[in-house]
C-alpha cells in the first residue's frame, strides 16, 4: 500500500505541490502571528534585561519612604562585597528645538562604573565634564556631534551643553528610559534636589547574591526601603510594564486564531479537492483488491507526510513573515527596528498541529466518503457532472445562526453597554457562521447572476466562468470564505476605528469651546500664575481660563483624579455633556462629578460630600453629573471643582498638568492669533501651545498606529486568501484539462480561455469580498450603536477611502490569482489535453 501511495505522490507532483504550498502558506501565517505575539514580550524583556544588566542588587524605596541620597549611596559603597554602586537619577529636561519650543525629554546621570550603564556608546564618547552631554542615537539624528544642545530646567532656565556622543539601547518598550545622559554633578545642577530612584550594586567576584543582599539590608534596610537581587528587580520592572504589552500580545494572539481559521479553510479546500480528484484512482485500487482500511490509511499517511513537510517549511516562512512585519513597522515608526524572532514550543506545536491535523482531517473526510461508495460505482460515475450540492441541514444551520445573530444584535441595542458589547460579539460570530453556512447555498445563484450581468460585455467566457464556479458551490464558497473572513475583520476594525476617531473629534468639539490650549512640558511644574491673564490680553483672544488636574480627597468616598477650572469657564469654554443637574457655571462649595464617579461613589445631584482632610472638612454639593472626553490639557477628570476650591481638597496640596484654555474672539484670524500667542508665551519657556487640530492628532495617534499594524497583518490574511483562490483555480484547471481542450477544439481562443478563468477568479473574489465587507460594516454599525454615548460618541462613518482600497485590491488581485492557472490552461497542447484521463 505504501508503495502505491508513494507512486501516487510521484505521479502528481504538481497537484501535491499546490496543496503543499497551501499548507505552508497557512502555517506560516499562523506561526507569524504567534511569533509576533511572543516578540512583543521579547522586546520588553530585552529592554528590561538591558536596564538591569550587571545589577546584582537593587535598592529602592516605596512612595513616601526615606529618600535615597548621596549619604545612602556612600553607605552602600562601604558595604563589603560591593564592587560598585551607582545612584540612578532621572530628571525632566525638555530639549529646546530649532524654533525655540520645548520638546519633552528626560536626562539621567552617567554611572561611573561602565558595567552598570544601561546603554552602549554608539558614536563619540560619554561626557567627561559638566558641560558635555550624550544623546540617544535616534533623538540625536537632528544634531551633529560637537553641536551645542540647549535644555530647559524645571524653572524654564536654559542650560547649554556640547554634544560629545550618542548611545544606543533596545527599543524603549514603555519602561521610560531617558534620552539624555549628563555627569552626576551636571544633573544635580540642572535639577537640584532630584533624589535617586534606585541604587544599583555590582558585587565583587565570588560574593553570592544572598550574602550581598543580607549585608546591604543590614546596612541600609528598613521601613520603606526594598533591597532585592538584580533578577528580582528585573522581574518587578517586567511586571510593572507588562500590562501594556499584554494587550498587544492578546491582540496578536487573537490574530493568530483568525490566522488558524483562514489557514484551516485554505488547507481543507485544497486537500479536499486533491482527494476528490483521486476518487477514481482509489476506487480502482479497491477493485484490484485493496481493503477499505488500507485505502483510507494510505491516503491519511500521504496527507500526514505532506502536511508535516509543508508545516515545517511554513514554520520557517512564519519567522520570515514576523521579521518582515517588524522591520516594516520599525521603518514606518522611525524607531530602532529591532527584530525579535522568539520561536517558542507553543508556536512550533500550534503551527505543526494546524498543518498536520487540518491536512489529515481535510484528507480523511473525502477519503472516508470515497471508501463508502461501492468501488465499481465510483469507477462508473463520471467524475465530471458529479457536483456537491448543499443540503437542507446546512440551510437550517444557516437560518438558526442568522436568527441567533439578529436576535443578539437587537438585544444588544437595548441593554446596558457592558452586556451590549458581549451580545454584539455573539451577534457578529453568529452572523459570520451564518454567512459561512449559507455560502454554498448562495454561491451558485450569486455567480450565475454575476455571469448574467457580465455576459453582455465579456460574452461566453463570463457564462463559462459562472457555470464553472457554480459546478461545485461548496468549493466555490470555501475559496471565497477565507477572503470573507479577512475582509470582514479588517473592514470591521477600520470602520469602528474611524467611528471612534470621528466620535472623539466631535466629542472634543462639543466639550472644548476653545481654539487653543497651553500646557506645561514638565507635568508637575505649574505654568506661571499670571499666564491666563497675559494670554487673555492678547488681541483676538476672547477669553483664557486656567485649568489643572489634582488628586481630590473626597473624605470617606475616597481619592479621585479630579480637575479644577475657573468657575466661569464652565459652560462657556468647557461644556461637557450634562447627564443630570445643571452646569452653566461652578461656584465655591459646588462639585460636578463624572458618570463614572457618580457610579463608583454612589453620588447623585443634590448630595453633599465632605471633602478635604478630616480635621478641616469642606462640604461640597453635587450640582451636576457629566460625561467627558479624555484629552491632555482639557481633561475633566472624574470630578470638577472651581479653581478656588481646589487647595482645600487637593491631597498634599499638589496639582499637576497645568493648562490654559484659550478662546478666540469671533472673526479673529487663527494664524495671526497663534503667532501673537507664541510671542506672549516667551515669558513661559516651558509652555507648549496646541491647536484643536493638534489635540485631535494626539488623540488619534495611538489608534492610527494600531490600525496600521492591523492592516499589515490583514493584508497578509487577504494575500493568503488569494493564494487559496489561486490554488483552487489551479487545481480546478488540472481537473478540467480535458474540458479546456474540448472547448479549444470547438473554437474557444486562448484569450477566451484565459478570460473565462479570470472571470471565475473575479467572481470568487467579488463574492468573498462583498460578503466580508457587508459583514464587517454591519458589525461595525452594531458596535458603534452599542458603544456610543453622548459624551463619547462613536459615529458610524464609512471610511470610504480605506474600504475602497480594500474592495479595489480584492478585485485587482483576483485576475493576478488567475494568471498562473490561466497560463497553464491556455498553454497546454490540445491533443495532450484530450488524451488526459
Amino acid at each position: 500500500m505504501l508503495r502505491t501511495v508513494i507512486a501516487g505522490l510521484r505521479a502528481r507532483p504538481l497537484r501535491l505541490l499546490l496543496s503543499a504550498v497551501a499548507i505552508a502558506l497557512g502555517v506560516s501565517f499562523v506561526a507569524g502571528a504567534l511569533v509576533l505575539a511572543d516578540a512583543v514580550g521579547a522586546g520588553l524583556r530585552a529592554a528590561v534585561a538591558f536596564q538591569t544588566r550587571g545589577v546584582d542588587a537593587s535598592i529602592s524605596t516605596t512612595r513616601g519612604g526615606p529618600a535615597l541620597d548621596e549619604a545612602v549611596l556612600a553607605k552602600v559603597r562601604r558595604v563589603p562585597g560591593v564592587a560598585a554602586a551607582e545612584g540612578r537619577a532621572t530628571a525632566s529636561a525638555p530639549l529646546r528645538d530649532a524654533a525655540g519650543h520645548p520638546q519633552e525629554a528626560a536626562a539621567t546621570s552617567l554611572p561611573a562604573d561602565p558595567q552598570l550603564r544601561p546603554f552602549d556608546l554608539a558614536e563619540g564618547r560619554f561626557p567627561r565634564d559638566a558641560n558635555e552631554i550624550a544623546m540617544e542615537r535616534h533623538t540625536a539624528a537632528a544634531y551633529p556631534l560637537g553641536q551645542s544642545v540647549t535644555v530647559f530646567d524645571r524653572n524654564g532656565h536654559q542650560h547649554s551643553y556640547t554634544l560629545v556622543g550618542t548611545f544606543s539601547r533596545p527599543t524603549e518598550a514603555g519602561i521610560g528610559s531617558a534620552q539624555l545622559v549628563l555627569l552626576p554633578e551636571a544633573l544635580r545642577q540642572l535639577a537640584a534636589g532630584t533624589g535617586f530612584s534606585e541604587i544599583v550594586v555590582r558585587a565583587t567576584p565570588g560574593v553570592g547574591q544572598s550574602q550581598l543582599l543580607d549585608d546591604l539590608t543590614r546596612a541600609v534596610g528598613g521601613r520603606g526601603t526594598t533591597v532585592q537581587t538584580g533578577r528580582d528587580a528585573a522581574a518587578q520592572l517586567l511586571r510593572e510594564a507588562a500590562p501594556d504589552s499584554a494587550s498587544l500580545t492578546k491582540f496578536f494572539t487573537a490574530f493568530a486564531v483568525l490566522a488558524m481559521v483562514v489557514a484551516a479553510m485554505v488547507i481543507t479546500n485544497s486537500f479536499t479537492i486533491l482527494v476528490t480528484q483521486r476518487a477514481r484512482e482509489l476506487a480502482l485500487l479497491r477493485c484490484v483488491g485493496a481493503g477499505k482500511r488500507q485505502v483510507f490509511a494510505g491516503v491519511l499517511a500521504e496527507a500526514v507526510a505532506v502536511g508535516a513537510v509543508a508545516s515545517v517549511a511554513g514554520l520557517f516562512g512564519g519567522l520570515g513573515v514576523a521579521a518582515a512585519l517588524q522591520a516594516i513597522a520599525g521603518a514606518l515608526s522611525g524607531h530602532e527596528a529591532a527584530v525579535y524572532l522568539p520561536l517558542t514550543a507553543r508556536t512550533a506545536l500550534a503551527a505543526l498541529a494546524v498543518g498536520v491535523l487540518v491536512t489529515a482531517l481535510a484528507a480523511a473526510l473525502p477519503a472516508w466518503a470515497a471508501t463508502r461508495v461501492a468501488p465499481v460505482e465510483a469507477l462508473r460515475t463520471p467524475l465530471e457532472g458529479k457536483s456537491a450540492r448543499a443540503g437542507w441541514p446546512r440551510a437550517v444551520a444557516a437560518i438558526v445562526l442568522a436568527l441567533v445573530g439578529v436576535g443578539a444584535a437587537v438585544l444588544a441595542l437595548h441593554v446596558e453597554v457592558e452586556h451590549g458589547a458581549v451580545l454584539a460579539v455573539v451577534a457578529m460570530v453568529a452572523l459570520l457562521g451564518a454567512v459561512l453556512a449559507v455560502g454554498p447555498l448562495v454561491a451558485g445563484p450569486v455567480v450565475r447572476a454575476l455571469g448574467l450581468v457580465c455576459a453582455p460585455v465579456l460574452g461566453l467566457p463570463a457564462k463559462l466562468a459562472a457555470l464553472n464556479a457554480d459546478r461545485n458551490p461548496k468549493r466555490t464558497a470555501a475559496s471565497a470564505a477565507a477572503l470573507t473572513i479577512g475582509l470582514a475583520v479588517v473592514s470591521l476594525v477600520t470602520t469602528v476605528v474611524s467611528g471612534v476617531e470621528a466620535g472623539r473629534s466631535s466629542g472634543l468639539d462639543q466639550q472644548l469651546a476653545a481654539e487653543f490650549t497651553v500646557t506645561s512640558v514638565v507635568a508637575d511644574q505649574p505654568l506661571p500664575a499670571t499666564l491666563a491673564d497675559t494670554l487673555a490680553a492678547v488681541p483676538g483672544v476672547a477669553a483664557a481660563a486656567p485649568r489643572r488636574s489634582f488628586s481630590g480627597d473626597l473624605g470617606a468616598r475616597g481619592t479621585y483624579g479630579m480637575a479644577a477650572v475657573r468657575g466661569d469657564a464652565v459652560g462657556s469654554l468647557l461644556r461637557p455633556v450634562v447627564l443630570s443637574g445643571r452646569l452653566d457655571r461652578l461656584g465655591p462649595g459646588e462639585l460636578a462629578v463624572s458618570r463614572q464617579l457618580a457610579k463608583e461613589a454612589g453620588l447623585a445631584v443634590g448630595d453633599t460630600v465632605q471633602g478635604g482632610p478630616r480635621n478641616r472638612p469642606v462640604p461640597l454639593r453635587v450640582v451636576a453629573v457629566y460625561d467627558g472626553v479624555r484629552v491632555p490639557g482639557a481633561d475633566l477628570g472624574l470630578g470638577l471643582v472651581d479653581l478656588g476650591q481646589m487647595p482645600a481638597i487637593a491631597l498634599h496640596g499638589n496639582s499637576y498638568d497645568d493648562s490654559v484654555l484659550v478662546k478666540l474672539a469671533a472673526g479673529a484670524d487663527q494664524d495671526q492669533v497663534r503667532s501673537a500667542l507664541d510671542g506672549a508665551l516667551s515669558a513661559a519657556p516651558l509652555a507648549q501651545l496646541h491647536s484643536l487640530a493638534d489635540l485631535k492628532d494626539q488623540m488619534s495617534a495611538p489608534l492610527r498606529s494600531t490600525l496600521d499594524l492591523l492592516w499589515a497583518l490583514t493584508a497578509l490574511a487577504v494575500l493568503i486568501a488569494f493564494a487559496g483562490i489561486a490554488n483552487t483555480l489551479s487545481l480546478s484547471v488540472l481537473e478540467r484539462t480535458r474540458e479546456s481542450a474540448l472547448l479549444r477544439a470547438l473554437g474557444l481562443t486562448r484569450g477566451g480561455l484565459v478570460a473565462a478563468l479570470t472571470a471565475e477568479s473575479v467572481f470568487l473574489a467579488l463574492l468573498g469580498a462583498a460578503c466580508g465587507l457587508l459583514l464587517g460594516i454591519g458589525s461595525a454599525w452594531l458596535i458603534t450603536q452599542v458603544a456610543s454615548t453622548d459624551a463619547q460618541p462613536v459615529l458610524f462613518t464609512l471610511p470610504w477611502a480605506r474600504l475602497g482600497v480594500l474592495l479595489g485590491a480584492a478585485v485587482l488581485a483576483a485576475p493576478l490569482a488567475a494568471v498562473i492557472p490561466a497560463r497553464r490552461a491556455a498553454r497546454g497542447s490540445l491533443t495532450a489535453g484530450m488524451a488526459e484521463q
Binding site: 465530471e384 459546478r471 472547448l743 470547438l746 481562443t749 477566451g752
Partner: protein, 243 residues
C-alpha cells in the same frame, strides 16, 4: 461522380519524440477526402489514425507536408486563425468526453455557434435535433444522458453549424452495438440526405461498412483504399495487415 475534395493532405510527416524513442506517426501521407462523402480511416492500433485526424482538423501541427480544408492551407496559420477555422468550418465527434458537464444538451449543441458568436438557424437546429431524436432530452445535462444519447448530442453539435467537414474519432468506441448503429446511421444520413462531409476514424469493421469509402493506414502510411467497404472486406484487409 466524386465532387471536389473538401479536405486533403499532401506528403504529410509527423514525428513524435527524438532519438531512440522517435516514432514516425505519419510518413508521407497524401490523401483527398471528397466533399459530400462519408470516409472511414481504418488501421490497426498505433497506425496513426488519430494523429492524421488531429492534423487534418488543425488540432495539431505537422512536421512537413501540407494540409488543406476547402481552399484554406492550414500549415502556417496562427493559433488564433486555426481556432477560428475550427470554430467556423469544422465539426467534431470524439470517442468520449464530448460534452461540457455543466451545460444542458441544447447548450452543448449550440456551444460552437455561441463561441463563434453566430446565431443558430432554428429550422436547421430543429431538423438535426429531430433526426437524432433528441428533442425530449434538450434540457438534460450530460450526466443525465446515456452514452448513446451523449454521442448523438455530440453529432448534433458537430452538424448544427453546417461545417465544411465533420471529423469523428472512434465515435462508437464506447457504445454498445445498438447505440453505435444509431449514431453511424445518422452520420450516413447526414451525408446522403443533408449533404455533409464526414471523415471518421475507426478500427471497427462494422462501423467502417457505413462509409462510402475506406482508407487503410499501417505504420503511418496509406496501405490500401477500399471503395464501398463491407465489414468482411475490411476485416480481411485488416487481418492481411496484421499477418
Amino acid at each position: 461522380m466524386d465532387g471536389p475534395a473538401a479536405v486533403g493532405v499532401a506528403e504529410v510527416v509527423k514525428v513524435y519524440g527524438r532519438g531512440d524513442a522517435q516514432v514516425r506517426a505519419l510518413d508521407h501521407v497524401s490523401l483527398d477526402f471528397p466533399a459530400r462523402r462519408f470516409t472511414a480511416i481504418m488501421g490497426p492500433s498505433g497506425s496513426g489514425k488519430s494523429t492524421l485526424m488531429h492534423c487534418l482538423a488543425g488540432l495539431d501541427t505537422v512536421d512537413s507536408g501540407r494540409v488543406r480544408i476547402g481552399r484554406t492551407e492550414l500549415t502556417g496559420l496562427s493559433d488564433a486563425e486555426l481556432t477560428r477555422l475550427r470554430r467556423d468550418r469544422v465539426g467534431f465527434v470524439f470517442q468520449s468526453f464530448n460534452l461540457l458537464p455543466t451545460l444542458t444538451a441544447e447548450e452543448n449543441i449550440l456551444l460552437g455557434l455561441r463561441l463563434a458568436g453566430r446565431r443558430p438557424d432554428r429550422a436547421w437546429f430543429g431538423a438535426v435535433v429531430d433526426a437524432l431524436g433528441l428533442r425530449p432530452r434538450l434540457r438534460h445535462r450530460p450526466g443525465e444522458l446515456s452514452g448513446g444519447q451523449q454521442q448523438r448530442v455530440a453529432c448534433a453539435r458537430a452538424l448544427v453549424g453546417r461545417p465544411d467537414v465533420v471529423f469523428a474519432d472512434e465515435p462508437t468506441g464506447s457504445l454498445d452495438s445498438r447505440s453505435g448503429a444509431e449514431v453511424l446511421g445518422f452520420l450516413r444520413t447526414s451525408v446522403r440526405e443533408l449533404g455533409q462531409t464526414v471523415v471518421m476514424v475507426t478500427h471497427d469493421p462494422v462501423a467502417a461498412s457505413y462509409a462510402d469509402h475506406g482508407v487503410l493506414l499501417a505504420d503511418g502510411r496509406v496501405a490500401a483504399h477500399l471503395p464501398r467497404p463491407t465489414a468482411d472486406a475490411v476485416l480481411a484487409a485488416l487481418t492481411g495487415l496484421g499477418a
